[in-house]
């Protein structure tokens, strides 16, 4: 337990000390909110889809969680190259504790990031549908963060260097974001894209957050949340297996 805690705390400290990373990772959601929110808002409204900022904000919150959580994998590659991973590998503690601490640490950072972005959306006129759902929203943000922190870590166990991760960003993470319904509604899309969206874990994160924050989701809420929990647990398990087999 103390092992998990100290490694969780380490991730948090690293995040809080890296001001550049905090500011940098807020710039992107801000840019999306301004450019897309104000740029497409009028069209969205004219097309009879309602207030675009209201639609977009949960998607951007989910986006910042996705990108920050996936970063947990980059952290791992970093620790492998710069050596800290070895220190934990020779310690008399099970690998499963080490990876759990790492993933939960990365997930907490991502959830905090998501909460900050949520606060930012208020500046752009986003209004929460039901304040009583905020605690549940924060829990779901943590689950989404855990899912992607585990995914990023699982991928990182299989990679030697950053270049590999760059490919993953372009060919996996960006598509996961774009086809998740974060930016546009999924109804009325070509059927191939609807299928892609169904297999995209991000779809369920975006949908859950949208329902909780605006009570206007595309899918029924409970199935999405169940899918999230199952995926997060499954990926955490997979990461633990892969991490335990890792050699340096």
């Amino acid at each position: 337990m103390s092992t998990i805690y100290i490694l969780w705390l380490r991730q948090l400290k690293r995040y809080l000390r890296s001001k550049a990373r905090i500011v940098g990772s807020l710039a992107q959601p801000l840019l999306f909110l301004v450019a897309m929110g104000f740029g497409f808002g009028p069209f969205f409204q004219k097309a009879g889809q309602g207030n675009y900022m209201e639609f977009l904000s949960p998607g951007i919150i989910a986006m910042s969680i996705l990108f920050t959580a996936i970063f947990t994998g980059i952290d791992m590659i970093w620790d492998r190259q710069f050596g800290f991973l070895k220190e934990t590998f020779v310690a008399p503690v099970p690998r499963s504790y080490i990876i759990t601490g790492r993933v939960l640490g990365g997930a907490t950072v991502a959830a905090i990031q998501g909460a900050i972005v949520l606060a930012l959306t208020f500046i752009f006129g986003f209004r929460v549908g039901n304040w009583f759902l905020i605690p549940a929203t924060l829990v779901i943000m943590l689950v989404v963060a855990t899912l992607f922190a585990a995914l990023g870590s699982a991928i990182a166990t299989q990679l030697e260097d950053m270049q590999g991760f760059q490919l993953i960003m372009n060919f996996l993470v960006m598509p996961m974001f774009f086809f998740s319904g974060a930016l546009f509604p999924l109804n009325g899309l070509p059927s191939i894209l609807t299928i892609v969206a169904r297999f995209d874990p991000m779809t369920y994160g975006v949908d859950s957050l949208r329902v909780l924050l605006t009570s206007a989701g595309g899918m029924a809420l409970s199935p999405s949340i169940i899918v999230l929990f199952v995926l997060a647990a499954g990926l955490l398990w997979l990461t633990t297996v892969l991490f335990s087999r890792m050699e340096l």
Partner: protein, 262 residues
Amino acid sequence: MLFVKNLVKKFGDFTAVDDISFRIEKGEFVAFLGPNGAGKTTSIKMFTTLLHPTSGTIELNGINPVKDTFDARRSFGIVFQDPSLDDELTAYENIEIHAVLYKIPKKDRPGRIKELLNFVELWERRNNLVKTFSGGMKRRLEIARSLMHQPAILFLDEPTSGLDPQTRNHMWEYIQRLNREQQMTVVFTTHYMEEAAKFARKIIIIDHGKKIEEGTPDELIKKAHASTLEDAFLNFTGHDIREETASAADRMRQRRQAWRGK
């Protein structure tokens, strides 16, 4: 303390460690001497549970590290060839994580950390981020950290590579003191001939994964009918320790170290 028998490690078809056997008793100060790619790090990784031997047996402090991994891990301390600190944390925090990982009781931690940081003369810098440290300071911190759980045997994989001569001597003073005052068994690797000759009381020469010779510096020189250890090495292996060409992986690592400014 460390008994090794017919130890072999293969990576695919390539044999990195080839049938090595030796015995190291408690309190000994031993050098693994060999050129780049000789198999020093691979051996240490097997002693320290990071790699499984392909065949052969290891007994460390009466423990089989392959079977009783955690007991073995509590028995040794290690300073890796490459850096292994968290640069974004302070010196104190780095040791503290180690203390938690090794389950040092909370009440014992502050006193012990202070003692160790004083020992390597870093107490004043305890609250500075490690990324602001010089190469020598990082090494000293790694030594202090490796001692936190009071290991019976200390492994040092090229502890002085990349350090200037003065820092290097300083480092050896700490390590010698540990060996002398606490009878700690010390095993280090090096490809600096002078270092092995000056500090080790026993030298194990390895080349191409094989143990070539073993003995005190004087014994080795006598046995090779040489006048210096350098000549002895040449006579035993048929080549100079420095002429060996590094493998691609080793060159990569050296470049990475150079790039990091170490």
